[in-house]
């Protein structure tokens, strides 16, 4: 065998080794958390209140994670999709659209801790929302809006031009075309985008420490529906420590005998959530694709 053939074999071996190594690392991480959470992860852990002295659950904290997720999505998804329509269908290549693209890039580059500082200055202090689910959700909106906008723009750009031409040729207006032809075809892509954004929001912590607060909720009274009362878990103004923030807090305080177990299990929940969000995005994306295109 010639030298070049030997080197080709060696290179191929090295690349395979890298591929196998990275996948194994990921597998090991997932397996580690699954094993570490055995014995602790249960329905009771997911629903019960945290406790200072014994092994407590994460019920209220998990509630906060979902609360902030839903609140953020309520703002991000409509605004991001509508903004995406502009970028894909109307914007073209002018100065203002380019300014919008630059803004998207700039915001995506800002570290989440700086977004947290911004939220602290604007939402918590200037607007007086204090440490609350609403302040947290707004901070998360800041850096997820550009992402959602770009994902929905991409989904709409992927719709073939023929579809638009056919609709316009039938006498539809531009907006009718967007509303009844482009948007429905882009829905699978948009939904995949939503789920992936949701996964990011669920795991975010740095931007929430200074906006949603750090106090561990010990017990929530779910019969309190007074939305203006910061004690009510339903209120957007209640301080809302999420699961990711809770792990960081447990580590930095290091109190209690069960810190390791609780944090391991909470981390396992986050990892499982990431897996589910990804799986959801994949299956839903392909199911919707089949539905809307009629292909099998």
């Amino acid at each position: 065998m010639t030298r070049s053939l030997v080197w080709d074999r060696v290179a191929t071996g090295v690349f395979w080794a890298i591929g196998v190594f990275v996948v194994l690392v990921l597998g090991a991480i997932i397996l580690h958390f699954l094993l570490a959470s055995i014995g602790t992860l249960s329905l009771d852990f997911l629903t019960s209140d945290p406790s200072r002295t014994e092994l407590g659950g994460v019920g209220p904290i998990l509630w906060n994670s979902f609360y902030i997720l839903v609140l953020t999505m309520l703002i991000t998804v409509p605004l991001g999709t509508i903004g995406g329509i502009y970028m894909a269908e109307y914007a073209g290549d002018g100065r203002i659209p380019n300014l919008i693209r630059l803004s998207q890039e700039l915001i995506s580059s800002v570290p989440s801790i700086v977004v947290g500082l911004f939220g602290l200055a604007l939402f918590v202090t200037a607007l007086g929302w204090s440490f609350s689910a609403l302040s947290g959700a707004m901070a998360l909106t800041v850096f997820n809006l550009p992402l959602m906008m770009r994902l929905s723009e991409q989904a709409m750009r992927a719709v073939p031009q023929d579809e638009r031409d056919a609709s316009l040729a039938l006498g539809s207006t531009k907006w009718q075309t967007v509303r009844h032809v482009v948007l429905p075809l882009a829905v699978p892509g948009i939904i995949t985008g939503i789920i992936l954004t949701a996964g990011r929001i669920f795991g975010e912590a740095a931007a929430l420490i200074f906006t949603a607060g750090l106090s561990t909720p010990m017990h929530y009274d779910f019969t309190n529906f007074d939305l203006t009362d910061p004690q009510s878990p339903w209120s957007p103004f209640h301080p809302a420590t999420t699961l990711s923030v809770y792990i960081w807090k447990l580590n930095s305080e290091g109190l209690g005998n069960y810190v390791r177990q609780i944090a391991d299990t909470s981390a396992a929940i986050l990892v499982i959530a990431v897996l589910l969000f990804n799986l959801g995005a994949r299956t839903l994306g392909s199911v919707l694709h089949r539905r809307t295109t009629g292909s099998r």
Partner: protein, 310 residues
């Protein structure tokens, strides 16, 4: 990429079209939604800059004090040198890029050029899961697995605490791996097929083709990928804070604890009172972080203007 958005109309109708466009309500409404991001950037710049300069105007700390290597905010006179943090951030970021680049570019080449279909079907979803693992989870892994391991097995090499520059960079290198990999993969995949077949037809092996044809054609894109990975590393807060030991001095060695801009903000923000110089120094660090990330964006924009292959 072709802009498929505007409908072709004859140019004689341009005058009446722009009138119609101006009255186009959906166009205006969707524009308002898109323009929110411009507003957000302006607000962000204003608030971070305003708070970031308060240490000079409100607490009257001289610039020479800030631009020093001495951080002792509770001494009198207090020292607010931010160079240890900037050096820490850049140091941790650089080492993370050095560790991560061979792995992630190698993985991108593997996925684009070598992996058969089934291996690609494993590697691609794996990257998506990888990128989704939250930063606190990485930090928690670092503090429960990596740091104790370094302390127990490598204390002879200087890892007396385990918390170290190296630990921070190692955790970061894994966090930025999917970023560099996925962008590099996209770039490598867009290198025209003809260039590969041309090279193979001349009798080159696959490795020679990758080495002398594919990689040179993709260089600019791969550099962009690495820069974007470094940007993520510089801004990462919690995972780094949990494993680097948070010692506010200039970096001394790979096995020693140090600190970064992000970790000091994370740690001290809750322990300081708004309006005092210590707190304002943290906002200045936030401003420095913002400037660093905007500089990265400018650099990436410059790179992307260059053509990667003719």
């Amino acid at each position: 990429m072709a802009v498929a958005a505007t409908t072709p109309r004859s140019s004689t109708l341009r005058g009446s079209e722009s009138m119609a466009q101006r009255l186009d309500l959906p166009r205006r409404i969707t524009f308002l939604a898109a323009a929110v991001v411009i507003l957000l950037v302006l607000l962000l710049l204003t608030f971070i800059t305003w708070n970031g300069v308060q240490i000079f105007f409100h607490s009257n700390v001289p610039l020479s004090n800030i631009l020093s290597t001495d951080w002792a905010p509770s001494d009198s006179p207090a020292q607010f040198g931010i160079f240890p943090f900037i050096a820490g951030t850049l140091g941790v970021m650089a080492l993370a890029a050095v560790i991560s680049t061979p792995l992630s570019v190698g993985l991108a080449i593997f996925m684009a050029e070598i992996a058969p279909g089934w291996a690609k079907n494993i590697a691609q979803p794996a990257m998506e899961v990888f990128v989704g693992i939250p930063s606190v989870v990485w930090g928690w892994l670092g503090i429960t697995i990596l740091v104790p391991w370094l302390r127990q097995n490598l204390s002879w090499a200087g890892f007396h605490l385990g918390f170290s520059w190296f630990a921070g960079s190692l955790v970061l290198s894994l966090m930025i791996l999917p970023t560099i990999t996925s962008i590099s993969y996209d770039v490598i995949a867009t290198v025209p097929r003809d260039m590969r077949t041309g090279s193979l037809a001349l009798g080159s092996t696959r490795w020679q083709t990758i080495r002398h044809v594919v990689l040179p054609a993709a260089t600019t894109g791969i550099v962009t990928a690495i820069v974007l990975g470094m940007m993520r590393a510089a801004g990462e807060a919690l995972a780094v804070q949990m494993v680097i030991g948070n010692r506010p001095v200039m970096p001394t060695g790979l096995t020693d604890p140090l600190t970064t801009l992000t970790s000091q903000i994370t740690l001290d923000m809750g322990n300081t009172v708004a309006g005092e110089a210590w707190n304002e120094a943290l906002w200045t660090m936030g401003l420095v972080l913002l400037i660093i990330s905007f500089a990265f964006v400018a650099f990436v924009r410059r790179l992307s203007r260059k053509k990667s292959y003719a």
